[in-house]
C-alpha cells in the first residue's frame, strides 16, 4: 500500500512540474489553444455558412479540434524533456517507470481538459448551439475523452520523442488508436446535446471509460520499455 502511495506522490510531483512549466511557458499553451480555435473557424468555412449543418456536425468538429490540438499538447509535454537530456535523468531515478507515465498522463489530461473547456463554449458560439441543458453529460464526456487521449498520447509521445520524423510519426501512429475514442466521444456529445432521446449516452460513456482504463493499463505496463533505450 505504501508503494502505491509513494508512486502516486511521484506521479503528482511530475504532473505538478509539467503543469508549472506549461503555466510559465504560457505562449506554447496559448498557441495550441489558438490553433484549436482556428481549426474550428476553418471548419466553419469548409462547411458553412448554413448554420444548421454546422450545428449538426458540431460534435464531430469539436472532437476533431480537440484531437488535433491534443496531438500538439501531448507531444510538447515530452519534447520539453529532451532539452538537457531531462528524460534520461528522469529515467535514471530509482522510481517505478509507471509513476512517470502516470504523472505525464495526468499533466496531459489537465492540459487537454483546459483545452476542451475553452473549445466547448467556442463551439457553442461559433456554431450556434445551446450548451446549458447538457452541461453535466458534456463535462463527463470531455473528462473521459481527454483522459483517454492523454493515456494514449503519453505513450506515443514517449515512443516518438527520440525518433526521426517525430512530427509525422506521432499522429500517424496515434490517430488509428484513438479512432474508437473519437467515435464514442462524438456520439456521446451528440447524444448529450440532443437530450439523449435514445438513451445511448450511458453506453458511449461506458465505452469511453473502458477505453481509458485499458489504455492506461497498457501504457503504464509498456512505458518503461520506451525509457529503457
Amino acid at each position: 500500500m505504501n508503494g502505491v502511495r509513494a508512486e502516486a506522490r511521484i506521479a503528482l510531483a511530475i504532473a505538478g512540474k509539467d503543469a508549472l512549466s506549461e503555466l510559465r511557458g504560457r505562449h506554447a499553451a496559448v498557441s495550441t489553444l489558438f490553433f484549436a480555435a482556428l481549426v474550428l473557424l476553418l471548419f466553419g468555412f469548409a462547411l458553412g455558412p448554413d448554420s444548421r449543418r454546422l450545428a449538426e456536425a458540431a460534435p464531430g468538429l469539436l472532437w476533431l479540434a480537440i484531437v488535433f490540438a491534443g496531438l500538439l499538447a501531448v507531444g510538447r509535454l515530452h519534447l520539453v524533456e529532451t532539452e538537457d537530456d531531462a528524460l534520461e535523468q528522469l529515467a535514471l531515478y530509482p522510481i517505478e517507470r509507471r509513476a512517470i507515465y502516470a504523472g505525464k498522463a495526468l499533466a496531459g489530461s489537465a492540459v487537454m481538459l483546459v483545452l476542451g473547456g475553452v473549445l466547448l463554449p467556442t463551439v457553442a458560439i461559433l456554431y450556434g448551439i445551446d450548451l446549458a441543458p447538457a452541461v453535466l453529460p458534456l463535462l463527463a464526456t470531455l473528462l473521459l475523452g481527454t483522459v483517454g487521449f492523454a493515456a494514449v498520447g503519453t505513450f506515443y509521445a514517449g515512443l516518438t520523442v527520440r525518433m526521426r520524423a517525430r512530427e509525422v510519426m506521432l499522429p500517424l501512429l496515434m490517430l488509428p488508436i484513438v479512432a474508437p475514442l473519437l467515435l464514442a466521444a462524438v456520439q456521446a456529445t451528440g447524444a448529450a446535446l440532443a437530450g439523449d432521446p435514445f438513451g445511448e449516452l450511458g453506453s458511449w460513456l461506458q465505452l469511453l471509460a473502458v477505453f481509458d482504463v485499458v489504455m492506461a493499463i497498457a501504457g503504464a505496463a509498456t512505458y518503461g520499455f520506451l525509457l529503457e533505450d
Partner: protein, 241 residues
C-alpha cells in the same frame, strides 16, 4: 530446400483452389460471378488476422526473452499481414461495388475495423523504418504491436455499436456463405481457398523470416566492423565517444 517444397505446394494449391472457385462452383443466384471474389476475400482476411496475432505474440516474446529471432517473426507477420489486409480490403471493395452498389460501406463494422487495422500496421512498419538500432527497433515495435492488439477489440466493438445504436438501414449480412444452409460446393470452395492461402502464408512467413535474419546479421556485422576499425591501431582518434 524445405521452404522451396512448401512454396511449390502453396502455388499448386492456390491455383487448384482458384480453379475450383472459378470453374467448378456455379455462380451465386443473387450475387452472380461477383460472389466468387468472396472465396479469396475471406481467405485473405483470415490470413491477415493470423499474421497480426503472430506479430503480437512474437513481440511479447521479444520483450520477455530478447531473442532477435522473435523480432524477425514479428516483422514477417506485420509485413505479410499488411499485404493480405490490403488484398482483403481491395477484394471487398471489388465485391461491394456490384453487390452493395458502393465501394465503401460505412455501416459494415468489419470493413471499418479492417481499414483501421491496415493503418495501425502500416504505422508499425514505418516505425521500424524510423529506428536504426536493431534492439531498440524491436522493443519499440513490440510495444506498439501490443497496444495495437489491445486496441483492435475496442475498435471492433465501437464500430458495431455505432451501427447498432443508430438503427440505420440494415444491409443484408454480407457473407451468409458460411451459414449451414449454404450448399456444400460453395463451402468447399471457400475452405479450400482458405487452406491454400494458409499454405502460401506459411511459405511467405518462412522466406520473410529468413530475410529478416539475414538483415539482422548484416546490421550486426556492419556494427562489429565499425568497432574493429575503431579499435585498430592508428585509428585511436576516431573512436566514437
Amino acid at each position: 530446400m524445405k521452404a522451396r517444397i512448401l512454396g511449390v505446394a502453396a502455388a499448386v494449391s492456390v491455383i487448384a483452389a482458384a480453379a475450383v472457385g472459378l470453374l467448378v462452383v456455379p455462380a451465386d443466384l443473387n450475387q452472380g460471378d461477383a460472389q466468387r471474389i468472396m472465396y479469396i476475400h475471406v481467405g485473405s482476411a483470415w490470413v491477415a488476422y493470423l499474421s497480426f496475432g503472430v506479430t503480437a505474440v512474437a513481440g511479447v516474446l521479444w520483450l520477455w526473452r530478447r531473442d532477435p529471432r522473435f523480432d524477425a517473426v514479428a516483422l514477417a507477420g506485420a509485413e505479410i499481414g499488411v499485404l493480405f489486409t490490403a488484398f482483403a480490403i481491395w477484394g471487398g471493395m471489388m465485391w461491394g461495388k456490384p453487390v452493395w452498389g458502393v465501394y465503401w460501406q460505412w455501416e459494415d463494422p468489419r470493413l471499418t475495423t479492417t481499414a483501421l487495422l491496415l493503418a495501425l500496421y502500416v504505422g508499425y512498419l514505418l516505425l521500424r523504418r524510423m529506428t536504426d538500432d536493431p534492439a531498440r527497433r524491436a522493443t519499440r515495435a513490440a510495444v506498439v504491436g501490443l497496444v495495437a492488439a489491445v486496441d483492435i477489440p475496442i475498435v471492433h466493438f465501437s464500430v458495431i455499436w455505432w451501427r447498432g445504436l443508430h438503427q440505420t438501414a440494415t444491409i443484408g449480412s454480407p457473407d451468409r456463405i458460411l451459414n449451414p444452409a449454404a450448399p456444400l460446393v460453395f463451402v468447399s470452395a471457400l475452405v479450400s481457398m482458405a487452406l491454400a492461402l494458409s499454405l502460401a502464408w506459411g511459405y511467405l512467413m518462412v522466406r520473410r523470416y529468413q530475410l529478416a535474419r539475414l538483415e539482422w546479421q548484416r546490421e550486426e556485422s556492419a556494427r562489429m566492423g565499425r568497432i574493429v576499425a575503431a579499435r585498430a591501431p592508428g585509428a585511436a582518434g576516431q573512436v566514437a565517444p
